[in-house]
Symmetry: C2
Subunit: 198 residues, 2 copies
Amino acid sequence: MYPESLKNLIESLKLFPGIGEKTAERMAFSVMDMDDEKIEFISNSLSEINHKIKRCSICNSLTEHDVCEICSNKLRDNSVLCVVEDPKNVILFEKLAIFNGVYHVLNGLISPLEGINPEDIELNKLIDRVKNGNFLEIILAFKPSIEGETTSLYIKKILCDLNITITKIASGVPMGADMEYIDAITLERALFDRKNIE
Amino acid sequence: MYPESLKNLIESLKLFPGIGEKTAERMAFSVMDMDDEKIEFISNSLSEINHKIKRCSICNSLTEHDVCEICSNKLRDNSVLCVVEDPKNVILFEKLAIFNGVYHVLNGLISPLEGINPEDIELNKLIDRVKNGNFLEIILAFKPSIEGETTSLYIKKILCDLNITITKIASGVPMGADMEYIDAITLERALFDRKNIE
């Protein structure tokens, strides 16, 4: 029904997550109204991304260089290390602009159910970095889930002999949330982790 | 915050309609998980679309050849012509597989308010085709709007001297719609265009 090249374009756009037939069609038709310069911009950006982007040799975060901007920034506090699951999380924290320490990106979280073991997420790289570094605090910033908890406990167990404070980000009722919409587990955790009012 | 090439990719994906910052970020990150073959497929499909796709020399529809598949199909009924506003509409009708005539695609609709005149939508090409063809019926399939009505009336006026039936698709209450959600103009039109029950 569609000319071959239009069909190809629609099929190729459906490779993106969350893009179905209708959206892909709309996107494909919009391409036919774009000038060559714009199309080239999209097409080139796509082609070069995986050649240019690599993982930082220190923290595993995304970078175009051997060492990422954060690791090579002399002004960052090298005594606090924030461990995250995914490079996207680094960007989330950086957007907040409230953390001046450095990061370490794991390759996911330990999940015995899915057969993801400590070696699959390159935990050794983190352990070596901590043992050879001068960190005073390690902040574990994983999502509150069985995988997040398992990974936190595992890291805590290995690093507990070193004289380093190991913390994890608070979980509980999110700011601005209506109490009646909070799920039972979150509420239970919020009650259990209650704090003195200062 | 993002490496340059990732920032470029996100910006470029935002050129698609309906793709905002968040979706573009999600799409860009998904690209980094794709293998080179898939990325190349998307990138090539994009680059080649505007070089390969052109307008059919007879009906203005999209094709990779000089004459589109429908116009060159000997089995189509060349006595019924369906006039539409946009190449997308041809595909809508073809998906239904209930029309075996041929199409003519205009370059939009006449809109005095937006300064779009008959010559801007290449109406002459349609008029010439009808005058030189052997059509028995011209079906005008425009959306029910001021622009659609204006264009229909204009075409009707020019072609009324020829011995050709000129019809337009019915407008009224859509199938399955709840009466209370129908807008006043549609309801008025549906009442005005009422039919005998046969």
